[in-house]
Every structure is written in structure tokens, then in C-alpha cells.
């Protein structure tokens, strides 16, 4: 019942916040979010699952209750965790707390609704990672869209409505495509399953029990369903060329929401790919590995190139997320311990690091009110701590050793280079070039914004931008209204950075359970 407790806590918090007075909402939300955070860490510490949830592993915190019977199928409330979902749940709770803290400064309107939606989002995210019944999972999967839509559209930037509806419709279409693909499989399985229990489905599919549906033979059905599901999840990840909702959503979303969007929402896509495409239809994934890898590599390189062309700090990080998520796909397709495990680890790592970077951008934006690289320079002089965090986060993003960013990418490379599919080494080698481009745009952005002589172009002045140039003294910032960030702005940064380093030095904390859950995946796909 502990998973239900976790989800319930988030939902309850959401309700409480909706009725709470705006004035106290920030503090209340932060305090409340510690409850699920603590609970999830407690669950993490006491995690006892073994093996892969979908492949007959021993689940932790499992509950099954019958819910709906839909014709030939039973829908159960079935939740449970394995070594893949547990870290992602912890990631969700951690990032939610971080996002709430980093929202204190920028969110000044309808706070109670904001935090209520964030906690609702948290509940949905936890649900996505915990659910084992398809329909339960799908409810949470779609439920994520609603708070996100509001969060972007109400508290977002100037083009927030465009971005919100784009995100909304785009990802919804994707869900439907995936849904159709998945149910084609379910019906293809015929009588061999009686519920929408995903582990049962996965095992049935891997056991080769797929029949034909509407005159389509099992092999073709499988391939088509794989394609539909891949296309659906690819939007969420996002994989080039279905990525264009992401930069808009990121740029327009308020920074705390970007933290969650990049940190957790994108992981839903790769998590689902791992669970559905790469677990249930492992044989198809292996047959078309080279094509999938091609998508991954294009995402990596093309995403990085796009990031290189951007001027808006958030757009840079947004496109770089496209690039980083490409690594995850590449790792998944490898079907090696390091490949799939590394992909999962990279999900965690990228969640923390991109969250950190977005939060840093947010802290800077809070005081400068611009995110354009050209509009500011020398922020380090005024915001030394934030700058340090930004630098650390950026280097972690570039894959600096002893941060989780390095290990995530390294695991993936290691796992993919010797994978079985044709050209694996070449794909990997090309994808690795991403580490050079990522260094290029992040270093460029940092050099331009954080270093050099201090100055901020503000558009407050009449008739064009006014650049204020500061002196050498760090303490004279007050006159330019560029102040050191408040403690509550920095705490989430420090929290995330600490985790990035801890995972970078002691990856076994999560890689252990990930590996344990991934290992069964690598053997015995359907013939």
C-alpha cells in the first residue's frame, strides 16, 4: 500500500494547496513535498525488488486490486516497483521538491494553484512509473498532460498559449498512436491473456504467443505495433524529427516547470520505450536496431547542432535535452547490460542535470529578466554561487567524470559500441561526437553570460536596450538590481548538484538495482 500512500500524499497535497491561501502556498508546498520525498527515499532504502518487473521479477511494494472488466479483459489496479522504476520515482520526488523551491521567487500569481498543479503532476508521474496495468498506466500517462498544460499556459512566457496547446495536442496524438499500436498487440494475443497486466503481456509476447489480427500476420503485426508505439513514445522523448514541441514548451514554461519537464517528463518517453518496445517486442527492436540507432544518432547530433545555434539559454538546454535523450535511445537499442542499464542511468542523470541547469537559468532570469546570451555578461561577478552551480551543472552535462553525466553517457557508449546490431560501433562513435558539440555550446554560453565584464541589457529603458556595466567590485551589484540569489533559490541547485556528484562517484547506489532489473531483459526475446 505504500505506493498508494505516496500517490495519495501527492494528491492530498494538491487538494490542500488548492484551498490554501496563496501567501503561504510556497512554504506549504515545499514542506508538503518533503513527505513524498521522504517516503520515496524510505522506499528506496528499503527496496527489496529483484529482477525485472515485466519479466517475472520479484516486485517491491506491489498491490493488485481488480478494477474494471472490459469485455474479455480485466483491468486491475496493479502497481509495483522494480530496479528501473524505483530510481525514477525517487527522481520525480526529488525534482518536484527542487522545482517547488525554485518556484518561490518567480511565481507571484495564483501560487496555490501553481503548487497544487505541481503536486498533482508529481502524483501522475509516480503513477506512470509505478503502474503495471496498462490502463492504470495510461490514465497516469495522460493525466500528466493536464497539469502541464495549465502550468505552461498560465504561468508561462509570452507565447505560452501556443506552446501549451502545441505540447498538449502533439503529445496527445502521440499517445493515441501508441495506444492503437499497443491494443493491436493485445488483441493479437487473443485468449492468451485475460487482463491488461503489462508483465503478463510482456511475457506472453516474448513467449511468442502473438497471433494475427484482422488478417495481419503476427510478424507484420508486431512490426507495425512496434512502429506505432515507437512513434508515440518518440514524441515524448523526444526523438528527431518529432521534437519541435519541446523547445517551445521549455522556453515558454516557467522555469520550475521546465525543471520537471526536462527532468521527469521526457523520461516518461524513454521509460515507456524501455518497458514497451524494448521489453515486450525485444525481437523487433533487435531486428530494426540499426534504424532505431540511426534515429538516436540523428537526435544526438542534430539536437546538439540546434542547441549550438540558439541564443536563448533555455532553448539551448532544451535542444541539448533532445541530444541527451538520443543517448538513452542508443543505449536501449544495444541490449547489453551497460547499454540498457546505462540508458536508464542516463535518464536519472539527465533528469538531475537538466533540472539543475534549468533551475540555474531560472535563478539568473529571476534577477536579469532575460535569458538571451547576448543580453548579459559577467554574471559570475554578481551571482558567484549560482555561477558555480551553473558551471558544475554544465560540466556535468558535458560528461565530466565523477559526475553522473559522465557515467550515464559512458555506460551507454560502452554498452552500445560492441552491441550486436550492424554498425553499432559506427553509430556509437558518431554519437559520441555529441560530447564535443555539447561542450561547444555550453562553454560558449557560459563564457558569454557568466564571464567577462559584468553587464546586463535590460529592456526597461525607453527606446532600445540599455547595457549597464558594472565595476570590478562584486558588492556593488545592488545599484544594478542584480543581486545574489536568495538561499531558497540556491538550495535546490545544491541539492541536485550533490546528487549528480554522488551518483557520479558512487553509481552503484542506483546502478546496482538498475542492472539487476535490466539483466533479465537481455536474454530470451521471442523467436
Amino acid at each position: 500500500m505504500i505506493v498508494e500512500l505516496l500517490i495519495g500524499l501527492c494528491l492530498l497535497g494538491s487538494v490542500v494547496l488548492f484551498v490554501a491561501p496563496s501567501r503561504y502556498a510556497g512554504r506549504l508546498a515545499a514542506g508538503w513535498s518533503l513527505l513524498p520525498l521522504a517516503l520515496s527515499l524510505f522506499m528506496y532504502a528499503g527496496f527489496s525488488g529483484q529482477g525485472n518487473a515485466f519479466l517475472g521479477g520479484q516486485l517491491a511494494y506491489e498491490t493488485t486490486v481488480q478494477w474494471v472488466s472490459l469485455g474479455p479483459y480485466t483491468l486491475n489496479w496493479h502497481v509495483g516497483l522494480d530496479g528501473i522504476s524505483m530510481p525514477l520515482i525517487a527522481l520525480s520526488t526529488v525534482l518536484t521538491t527542487a522545482a517547488i523551491l525554485s518556484a518561490w521567487t518567480p511565481i507571484e500569481d495564483r501560487e496555490n494553484q501553481f503548487y497544487g498543479l505541481v503536486l498533482f503532476l508529481e502524483a501522475s508521474l509516480v503513477g506512470v512509473f509505478a503502474a503495471l496495468d496498462f490502463f492504470v498506466w495510461f490514465v497516469f500517462w495522460e493525466a500528466v498532460l493536464v497539469p502541464m498544460y495549465f502550468l505552461i499556459a498560465i504561468w508561462g512566457g509570452p507565447r505560452r498559449k501556443y506552446a501549451a496547446i502545441k505540447f498538449f495536442v502533439y503529445t496527445n496524438v502521440a499517445s493515441l498512436v501508441m495506444f492503437i499500436g499497443f491494443f493491436a498487440l493485445i488483441f493479437g494475443l487473443g485468449d492468451s491473456i485475460g487482463s491488461l497486466d503489462m508483465p503478463a503481456i510482456a511475457q506472453a509476447l516474448r513467449a511468442g504467443e502473438l497471433g494475427s489480427l484482422a488478417g495481419v500476420g503476427p510478424a507484420t503485426l508486431k512490426t507495425l505495433a512496434f512502429a506505432a508505439m515507437f512513434a508515440g513514445f518518440a514524441v515524448k522523448v523526444p526523438v528527431v524529427p518529432v521534437h519541435t514541441w519541446l523547445p517551445d514548451a521549455h522556453v515558454e514554461a516557467p522555469t520550475p516547470v521546465s525543471v520537471l519537464l526536462a527532468g521527469v517528463l521526457l523520461k516518461m518517453g524513454t521509460y515507456a520505450l524501455l518497458r514497451f518496445n524494448f521489453t515486450m517486442l525485444a525481437d523487433v527492436a533487435q531486428r530494426y536496431a540499426a534504424i532505431i540507432a540511426l534515429f538516436a544518432v540523428v537526435s544526438v547530433i542534430y539536437g546538439a547542432l540546434l542547441a549550438l545555434a540558439q541564443q536563448d539559454l533555455k532553448r539551448i538546454v532544451a535542444y541539448s535535452s533532445v541530444s541527451s535523450m538520443g543517448y538513452v535511445i542508443l543505449g536501449l537499442v544495444a541490449y547489453t547490460v551497460y547499454g540498457v542499464g546505462g540508458a536508464t542511468f542516463q535518464m536519472l542523470s539527465h533528469g538531475l542535470i537538466s533540472g539543475l541547469l534549468f533551475a540555474c537559468v531560472g535563478v539568473i532570469y529571476n534577477t536579469t529578466h532575460t535569458r538571451m546570451v547576448d543580453d548579459m555578461s559577467g554574471m559570475a561577478a554578481r551571482m558567484p554561487v549560482t555561477t558555480s552551480m551553473f558551471v558544475a551543472g554544465a560540466f556535468a552535462y558535458m560528461g565530466l567524470p565523477l559526475t553522473s553525466g559522465f557515467l550515464g553517457e559512458y555506460f551507454v557508449f560502452l554498452g552500445t559500441f560492441h552491441a550486436d546490431f550492424p554498425g553499432a560501433a559506427w553509430f556509437t562513435a558518431i554519437a559520441m561526437f555529441g560530447i564535443v558539440i555539447v561542450a561547444g555550446y555550453l562553454l560558449y554560453a557560459m563564457q558569454r553570460t557568466l564571464f567577462g565584464p559584468f553587464g546586463v541589457a535590460t529592456d526597461h529603458g525607453d527606446g532600445g536596450a540599455v547595457r549597464t556595466d558594472g565595476g570590478e567590485d562584486a558588492d556593488s551589484g545592488a545599484e544594478h538590481d542584480i543581486k545574489r540569489a536568495a538561499a531558497h533559490d540556491v538550495v535546490p541547485l545544491a541539492m541536485l548538484l550533490a546528487l549528480v556528484i554522488v551518483l557520479g562517484v558512487a553509481p552503484e547506489i542506483s546502478f546496482g538495482m538498475i542492472r539487476d532489473a535490466v539483466a533479465p531483459l537481455l536474454t530470451g526475446g521471442a523467436g
Binding site: T336, V337, Y338, A381, L450, F451, E508
Partner: protein, 689 residues
């Protein structure tokens, strides 16, 4: 008892790196509350590291070695093992001493250069130095290539941090970015290499029977050189020989970037934007040495591939000449030293490529001392000159700064390769190795030799041009007449290094040994020839002989003659270069003769337009392609998305026009619809047949 103590030295060896890490943490978090802003912690830590390193070196000298795993990052059964470990053998012990010594001295020097000058951001500075020392030391004792890569990258970060120390100016952050990016470009290949080595051998351990050089050797030996099977190793569709060559090249990418070899050398001169002690420590003595050290570390692997060796030698020789020529015209004292550093690392690469493993390590050691010395000397001059670095603003500092002068002179003589200073012995040995292997059947090496030899002239010239312009003649500016006073913290390191620059060469006097027949005088050779089997000079010699076909030749069949001739030629050329400098720049008021070079000067001042073409490449293939992609993304990819929505809405607008508001039309459409339905179903059901 002895065994216990031996073991104990190795047990505490991790502390060599951990101590500076602690100083990093202290400086970072508590630096601003400490009396010297973290300097003392750094000095204590690196001092401790130095002592421990010496202890380890002594233990290694006693014949013990150590090759153990100490921390496992990932415990993954049945697949690649990612761990940190300790490989303590003569090579790493030597390097540990060098690194911790220079680091210690630089920390000391920084008291004078940074603290006394009232610089801002000292905790950050000392934290950077501490982190660097930690990373570098850990890199040195790494027992596998993965760990090497980890710390290779970390030293890159430190380099970035420290070059950009004065971040409020425009140039340092830019230089830092460039340094990191250029080395990152090299590291990309290194990363591919590490991963590929993992994929090929399943391990990246340097030493032992299961190490990758050994496995590679066995694979090649087993398959008779090239083609055929590779002892169960996956060679990705290549023959083992070809594949190992590719692997070697990949790792070499990182080496070329880090050790600033052509064509990835362009970052190093810019890196001089950092504080001078940093230049001394990172961009001269240690970090830049990481590349060369890495080649030496896995020499057993490189020795298997003649192609790789030839390329290393050629790149090294070319870089030595190329960089030296640019140093000739520089005005900034640190720029001269920067190009000289590139040039000297070129020599080391030449040595490694030419099969002169001992020579290269030897030069690595002597260079660490004399180049650190020169940089620190330059630092002392810069302090004295109130942070002016243009040599044409100096002059006549000899009388005013005697200790720096003599120390600097010692370093310069070593750099120029003048007998009997350290550089002479080591550089000469490299050239000698290239020569003998060149005439012994690998004529390609002669090309490297000739380039190295030519560079000797340039080296002699620019070194003495620098000395003369800085210290001799009449002071050319007011500052030069009234230099700043120097404290003990500046002078002590100079003195120590000055002595080492003069004497370090005596550890391996090959010419003397050969002539006198005293093998034992080649101490370094002996030092590197013991320790873990497979990592010894003798073994490397066998490998280069068996796999790369290196055989020692001799001029006129006489080894002694060859040695003498080689040493004599290089000394003569060095003296010639120095003499030319003396001719041109001695006297109270030297003139700038560089004008006479005309277009060549422009070319040299612009560094052969290396920066320009690299920037052009980066702009075209990086930014240019990025812009194109962005435009493509906005217009085509996103345009398609928006297009779909626009088309939908437009068709929605059209469709709703069907509803004209006139009910007769509705009735008509309704009837038509029903008729269509009837016809469709009727046709499908075959009613009309």
C-alpha cells in the same frame, strides 16, 4: 618487517591524491575564512603528497610494485569492469614525484604571485590547484585506461577553471573555452578509443597478464602479425594489426589534444591568459605531460603498431620544429615559453615514436623541471614588472633580480640543450634514438630526426633571445628600472628548480655511459627497466623490434661514434642558435630584427594562421551547420507541424460552410447522402446484379 613497511607505503599511496582533494574541499568551502585563503592547506597537502610520493618511489626502488584495484565504480559481473586502481611502478612513481614536487613548488610560489599581489578569488584559485593536483596525481597512478580518461578529463576541467581565473576580463574566459574545446576534440577520439579498447579486450588494465597491451601482443603473436583470427578478440571487421593501429590512433587523439601537438596545439598559447603559476604547473610541467605520459604508460600497446609509432614520431618532430619557429618572433615572454613547451613535447613524442621510451620519459622529467622553472622565473619577472609581459618593456633585470636571473639562466641552458644542463642529455637522447632507429631500418624516422634537429637551432635562438631581452642590456622602461621586490616564496622554488634543471640530466648520461661503457650510469634506464614485467624498457625494446621492426643502426658501424656525432651535432646547433641570438640581441639596446623577416614574420606572428583556419572550420562546420539546421528545423520540421494544424483548421473552416443555414439545402444534402449510402451498400451487397 620490510615487507610490511613496503605494503604500508602502497596502502597509503591513495593519500597522495586524496590530500590535495582535501585541500580542494577546504579551500572551496572554508578558503575565505583561512589566513592565506587556502594556500596553506594546499601547500601542506602537496607537501604531504610529495613526501608520500618519495616514500613510494623509495619503495619502488626497493623492487616492489603495486597493481591493485581500490574502488570499484560498478560491480558488474560478466562484463566490463569499471574501477579505480593503483599502478605503482617505476614510471608512475617517478611521475608522482615530479608532479607533487612541481605542484608543491607552485603552491609555494603562488603565495608570492597571488596572495602578496592581493588577487581576488584566492579560495577559488587554491581550490582549482588542489583539484588539479588530485586529478593529475590520480591520473598518474591510474591502473587502467578508463581511470586515466576520468582524470584526464578532470585535469581538463581544472585547466579551464584556472585559465579562466580572471573571469572578469574578456580574454581569459575565451581562452579557457578554447583550451577545453580543443582538448575536448582530442578527447573525443580518446573516448572512442577507451570504449573501443573495452569492447575489444574487455579490459583497459595497463599491467598484468590480463592487461590489454598483453592481450594485444598475444593476439598479434598468435596470428602472426596481420590478418586472421585474433585470439577470440573482436576486432570489428579489421585485421588485428589494423584494428590495434586504429585504437592507437584513437587514443592518440586525446594525447595530441592534451599535449598540444600539431594540429591541436592552438589552445596552449592562449592558455597563457591564466595566472603564471598555473601556466607553470598545468600548461608546462604536468597536465600537458599527461598526453605523453599516457603514451608512455601504454607503450606496450603502441609498440605493437609501426604505423602509429611512425605517426607519433612524425607528428612530434613536426610539432617540435613548427612550434619552435613560432616562438622566434614572440614579444610576450609567456608566449615564447608556451611555444617552446609545444616544441618540447614534440620532442617527447618524437622520442616515443622513435622507440626511445627512456629518452622520452627522461625528457619529460627534465622538461618538467626546467619548464616549470622558466615559467616560475617568468612569473617572478612578471611580478617584478608589475604584471607586464612584453619582453621589449624589460631589459637589464639581471642586476636587479639576481636569483631569478641565475635560475632562469639555468632553465634556459637546459631548454636550449647546452651541455651539461639537463635538457642537453634528454633531448640529445631523443635525437639519438631517432637517428639510430632511422638508420637502422626505419628511414621514416630520419624525417622526424631532421625536423627535431632543425628545431634545436630555433630553440637555442629563441631561448637566448628571451634571456637577452629580459635580463640583459639596459632597462627599457621605468618599471624595468624599478622592479617590484620578490619574497622568499618566489625565490625558494626558483632556487630548487634551478638546481634541478642544472643537474637532473645526470641521471641518465647515455653518451657518457656509452663512451665509457658504464651501463650503470644510465640510472633512469635502469630505473625504468625494473618493476612489473611487461612494463619494462627491455620488454618495450623487444616489442618495437619484433612488431615495429625497429633495429638499432649506427653511423659507420660504430656506436660510440654515432653517440658522439649525434650529441656533437645537436650541441653545435644549439650553440649556433644561441650564438645567433647573442649576435642579434646582446648589447645595451637590442633592436627588433624580426622586421627583417618580412612576410615570414607576419606568418609567424599569426602562428601560420592556425587559429584562423581552425576558427574557420569551427565556424563553417559548427556554427554554420548549426544555423542551417536551426533554419531547417524551424521552417521544415516545425513548419510541417504548424502546417498540419493550419491545414486542419482551414479545412475545418471550409467544412463548416456546408451548413448554409438554408434548410432546403439540408434536405437536398440529406437525400444525396442517403442515396450515396444506398449506392455504396448496394454495390457492396450486389443488389444491382
Amino acid at each position: 618487517m620490510v615487507a610490511t613497511i613496503t605494503a604500508f607505503a602502497f596502502e597509503v599511496a591513495p593519500a597522495i591524491a586524496i590530500l590535495p582533494l582535501a585541500s580542494f574541499v577546504i579551500a572551496l568551502f572554508a578558503g575565505k575564512y583561512l589566513p592565506k585563503r587556502g594556500a596553506l592547506a594546499g601547500i601542506a597537502a602537496t607537501g604531504g603528497s610529495l613526501l608520500l610520493s618519495l616514500w613510494v618511489a623509495l619503495t619502488v626502488a626497493g623492487g616492489a610494485t603495486y597493481n591493485e584495484e581500490i574502488y570499484s565504480l560498478v560491480t558488474t559481473p560478466n562484463t566490463f569492469d569499471l574501477h579505480f586502481g593503483l599502478l605503482l611502478d617505476p614510471l608512475s612513481a617517478l611521475m608522482l614525484v615530479i608532479v607533487s614536487l612541481v605542484s608543491f613548488l607552485v603552491h609555494l610560489f603562488s603565495l608570492g604571485y597571488m596572495n602578496d599581489e592581493g588577487e581576488a578569488g584566492l579560495p577559488r584559485y587554491y581550490a582549482g590547484l588542489g583539484l588539479f593536483s588530485f586529478s593529475m596525481l590520480a591520473f598518474v597512478f591510474a591502473d587502467n585506461l578508463f581511470m586515466s580518461f576520468v582524470f584526464f578529463e578532470l585535469v581538463g576541467l581544472c585547466s579551464w577553471l584556472l585559465i579562466g581565473h580572471w573571469y572578469r576580463e574578456d580574454a581569459p574566459p575565451s581562452a579557457a573555452k578554447k583550451a577545453f574545446l580543443v582538448t575536448r576534440f582530442g578527447d573525443y577520439f580518446f573516448l572512442v578509443g577507451v570504449v573501443a579498447i573495452f569492447a575489444t579486450f574487455g579490459t583497459t588494465v595497463f599491467a598484468g597478464p590480463e592487461s590489454f597491451p598483453t592481450l594485444a601482443e598475444e593476439a598479434l603473436a598468435g596470428s602472426g602479425g596481420a590478418g586472421g583470427g585474433a585470439g577470440g578478440l573482436s576486432t570489428f571487421g579489421f585485421g588485428p594489426g589494423a584494428w590495434f593501429t586504429i585504437l592507437g590512433f584513437l587514443v592518440l587523439g586525446g594525447v595530441i589534444g592534451k599535449s598540444a601537438q600539431f594540429p591541436l596545439h592552438t589552445w596552449l598559447p592562449d592558455a597563457m591568459e591564466g595566472p603564471t603559476p598555473v601556466s607553470a604547473l598545468i600548461h608546462a610541467a604536468t597536465m600537458v605531460a599527461a598526453g605523453v605520459y599516457l603514451v608512455a604508460r601504454m607503450y606496450g600497446f603502441y609498440a605493437l603498431s609501426p604505423t602509429t609509432l611512425a605517426v607519433i614520431a612524425f607528428v612530434g618532430g613536426f610539432t617540435a620544429l613548427f612550434a619552435a619557429s613560432m616562438a622566434v618572433v614572440k614579444r610576450d615572454i609567456k608566449q615564447v615559453l608556451a611555444y617552446s613547451t609545444i616544441s618540447q613535447y614534440g620532442y617527447m613524442m618524437l622520442g616515443l615514436g622513435a622507440g626511445g621510451y627512456v629518452a622520452a620519459v627522461f625528457h619529460l622529467m627534465t622538461h618538467a623541471f626546467f619548464k616549470a622553472l622558466l615559467f616560475l622565473g617568468a612569473g617572478a619577472v612578471i611580478i617584478a614588472m608589475h604584471h607586464r609581459q612584453d619582453m621589449w618593456e624589460m631589459g637589464g633585470l639581471k642586476e636587479r633580480l639576481p636569483i631569478p636571473y641565475y635560475a632562469f639562466l639555468s632553465g634556459s641552458l637546459a631548454l636550449a640543450g647546452i651541455f651539461p644542463f639537463a635538457g642537453f642529455w634528454s633531448k640529445d637522447e631523443i635525437l639519438f634514438e631517432a637517428l639510430v632507429h632511422g638508420i637502422g631500418g626505419s628511414p621514416l624516422l630520419l624525417g622526424g630526426y631532421l625536423m627535431g634537429l632543425t628545431a634545436v637551432v630555433f630553440t637555442g635562438f629563441y631561448t637566448f633571445r628571451m634571456v637577452l631581452l629580459t635580463f640583459h642590456g639596459e632597462p627599457r622602461t621605468h618599471t624595468a628600472r624599478n622592479p617590484h621586490d620578490l619574497g622568499w616564496s618566489v625565490k625558494t622554488p626558483l632556487a630548487v628548480l634551478g638546481i634541478l634543471a642544472a643537474t637532473a640530466g645526470f641521471v641518465n648520461m647515455v653518451p657518457v655511459g656509452t663512451i665509457l661503457g658504464l651501463e650503470r650510469i644510465e640510472l633512469l634506464h635502469g630505473w625504468l627497466d625494473h618493476g612489473i614485467s611487461g612494463l619494462t624498457v627491455e620488454h618495450y625494446g623487444e616489442l618495437t623490434h619484433d612488431f615495429a621492426g625497429y633495429t638499432t643502426g649506427a653511423l659507420a658501424g660504430s656506436e660510440v661514434l654515432t653517440v658522439l656525432l649525434s650529441a656533437g651535432i645537436s650541441l653545435a646547433l644549439a650553440l649556433a642558435g644561441a650564438g645567433l641570438a647573442w649576435m642579434l640581441y646582446s648589447g645595451p639596446n637590442p633592436e627588433a630584427h624580426t622586421e627583417r623577416l618580412g612576410d615570414v614574420r607576419t606568418l609567424l606572428m599569426n602562428n601560420y594562421y592556425q587559429d584562423e583556419y581552425q576558427v574557420w572550420i569551427a565556424e563553417t562546420f559548427g556554427t554554420g551547420v548549426a544555423r542551417l539546421s536551426d533554419r531547417f528545423d524551424q521552417s521544415i520540421v516545425d513548419g510541417a507541424v504548424n502546417g498540419v494544424s493550419e491545414v486542419s483548421l482551414l479545412s475545418g473552416d471550409r467544412i463548416r460552410r456546408i451548413q448554409t443555414g438554408i434548410v432546403s439545402n439540408y434536405a437536398t444534402l440529406l437525400t444525396l447522402g442517403l442515396v450515396v449510402l444506398l449506392l455504396t451498400v448496394g454495390l457492396a451487397g450486389g443488389w444491382f446484379l
